[in-house]
Amino acid sequence: MHKSREKPEPFHYHRKLSLQLFFIATIVFLYLPIIVLVIFSFNDSRRGGNIIWRGFTFDYYEKALNNAGLIEAFANSITIAVISTIFSVILGALTAVLLWRFRFSFKPLFEGMVSLPIVIPEICMGVSLAVFFGYFGLWAPPGTPWPFNLANIIIAHITFSFPFAAMVIRTRLATFNRETEEAAKDLGATEFEVFRDILLPHMKPGLIAGALLAFTLSLDDFVVTFFTSAPNAVTFPVKVYSMVRFSVTPEINAASTVLIILTVILTAFAMRFQSFRETSK
């Protein structure tokens, strides 16, 4: 293929062999570690290290699925993600509608305030929350029943997710035709009815996108959670971290593979849902 002989086509970079190879190399670079991780979850490694391939086994999956601490951590992660998503979407929606609808003197200041949790380094947020909980004695005492023992982590997650949700919802609100709101009012609807019947249906795709984002952010989070978790309240990433520091076994790989599969399914589900809505419009 001597494309260079042909008259150069503007902007058809995707056809150039060198760039295609580069692209493939990047993909390999990104995916190989994950693929190796999955493969080595089946490694029958005896000694620590899980470096050298010894044989195929499902043993470590069994181990992982029987690891009470791991399962509990996983359950905690899901619980935290669900609860914090609900609150994040509510707070995010309130903020988005507020910024979209009202003029007020301190609006730029408020907008800045709401976007701070997004820009601040995670460790600053984690540290400040840990200090905060300690200062006011707000740590959930050991023995608190589930799910309240997760309250600290949930609070932290809501704090950094809701600005993201607000951003997504606000983007959706920008496409709203104001006159439909006035028409509803003109036809006799109260403030609440206008919100429920006209504004909310329009916001729905934004709410769902915001929820997905908040859910993923929560499930994925490590640093902030690391500082706000406690012995009786551990999430999956934090648990895996402690296992990694201890020793490297295929058990961690197995647990990670399960989470990866879950993520892929969730993403596929989200994409299906999105494209379904696009075609039905």
Partner: protein, 369 residues
């Protein structure tokens, strides 16, 4: 027996910060009429409509509905409904649900709603579309949904914001007729806001002309055309020729008006408004009042002006003839085909004579202060 107005806008002023959108506007809308609010962009007509609807509150003044002061009444409680410029049909609801919405929020029983909706849809010829979604409808169809949705609530007054401007020419003519028929059927007063004077003239019983937030004149279309109150209205409605007045002399029952274009014109004293100096006045003559001939006309009185033949815009049974005057200005004359034919045969630049009667001359203030 005097008929009371159904809507009375009294001394309404609306200011947005330093900007005055409406300045002391008062109009009365009579029951059963089509009332148009007409004016150029930015004159405040949409603001006035929104104040009547309750979507804006006036800075000063009040709105009366049937003698009751509704200025403080919120929009959703007023028995007035509006068809918005973008139609604002709710995208997530079907046509039937859209039309039913106003009845649903007033808690009408389900069976009654269904009946009313069916009737409203039939009225706007949308019965087969009742289960369609708005994104499956054309612009004209969506407008009819908006109409049905507003009318099904049996409002005392229906407001329409630029109902015809978004439609193409053919649809516009059809819709214009439909609106008139609809109003006759329903009997409710329509208040229409438009910037298109030919639309307002064709459809409305009475028209209020607004300019820069101020009310210039309220009159029937014929009244606005024949008896404009100032230069702005005269120029805005229909076509007109305007001349600057150099001097004005009153002389026992007669007034001599001097202008560069037409020389000295003698008119009756009643035709010139009192108390305004010459530079605050303009002279005007409608194009259809001018006769144009290739030979000097035999007249007794009136004004005769000589010029050369300019463009002729042929329109079928009539034409608009442009006459170039020696002073450099141009006159527009509107002639029927029979009068125009000889002119069309003549060469461009041929000498022509224009004539009009003194009684047709309008002397008007530039704009009502």
């Amino acid at each position: 027996m005097t008929v009371k107005p159904i809507i009375s806008v009294q001394n309404v002023t609306k200011r947005f910060g330093r900007f005055t959108a409406l300045d002391n506007v008062s109009i009365d809308v009579m029951p059963g009429e089509i009332f148009a609010i007409l004016g150029p962009s930015g004159c405040g007509k949409s603001t006035l409509l929104r104040i009547i609807a309750g979507l804006e509150a006036p800075t000063e003044g009040c709105i009366l509905l049937d003698d009751a002061d509704i200025t403080a009444m919120p929009a959703n409680k007023r028995p007035i409904n509006m068809v918005f410029q973008s139609y604002a049909v709710f995208p997530q609801m079907s046509v039937a649900k859209n039309v039913a919405y106003g009845l649903k929020v007033q808690r009408m029983p389900r069976s009654q709603i269904d009946q009313a909706v069916a009737q409203a849809l039939a009225q706007v010829h949308l019965t087969e579309f009742r289960d369609r979604m708005p994104n499956q409808l054309s612009g004209g169809q969506r407008q009819r949904v908006a109409l049905a949705r507003a009318l099904v609530k049996r409002p005392r007054v229906l407001l329409l914001d630029e109902p015809l401007s978004a439609l193409d020419a053919k649809l516009r003519d059809a819709m214009r007729l439909e609106l008139v028929h609809l109003q006759e059927q329903v009997g409710v007063s329509f208040v229409i806001v438009t910037h298109d004077q030919s639309e307002a003239m064709a459809i409305a019983d009475r028209i209020a002309v607004l300019n820069d937030g101020r009310l210039c004149q309220v009159d029937s279309p014929e009244g606005l055309y024949q008896r404009p109150v100032d230069g702005f209205v005269a120029d805005f409605i229909g076509r007109i020729n305007l001349f600057e007045i150099k001097a004005l002399k009153r002389d026992s029952g007669k007034v001599i008006v001097s202008s560069t274009e037409a020389g000295d014109v003698v008119i009756a004293a009643s035709q010139a408004p009192d108390g305004i100096a010459a530079d605050g006045l303009v002279m005007a003559i409608r194009p259809e009042k001018i006769t144009v001939s290739l030979t000097a006309p035999i007249t007794d009185g009136g004004t005769v002006v000589q010029g050369t033949l300019g463009d002729i815009a042929f329109q079928g049974e009539s034409s608009i003839v442009e006459i170039n005057l020696p002073c450099g200005a141009a006159l527009s004359a509107f002639l029927h085909d029979s009068d125009c034919a000889p002119l069309r045969q003549a060469a461009a630049g041929a000498n022509v004579w224009c004539h009009w009667n003194s009684g047709d001359v309008l002397v008007l203030a530039r704009s009502a202060v």
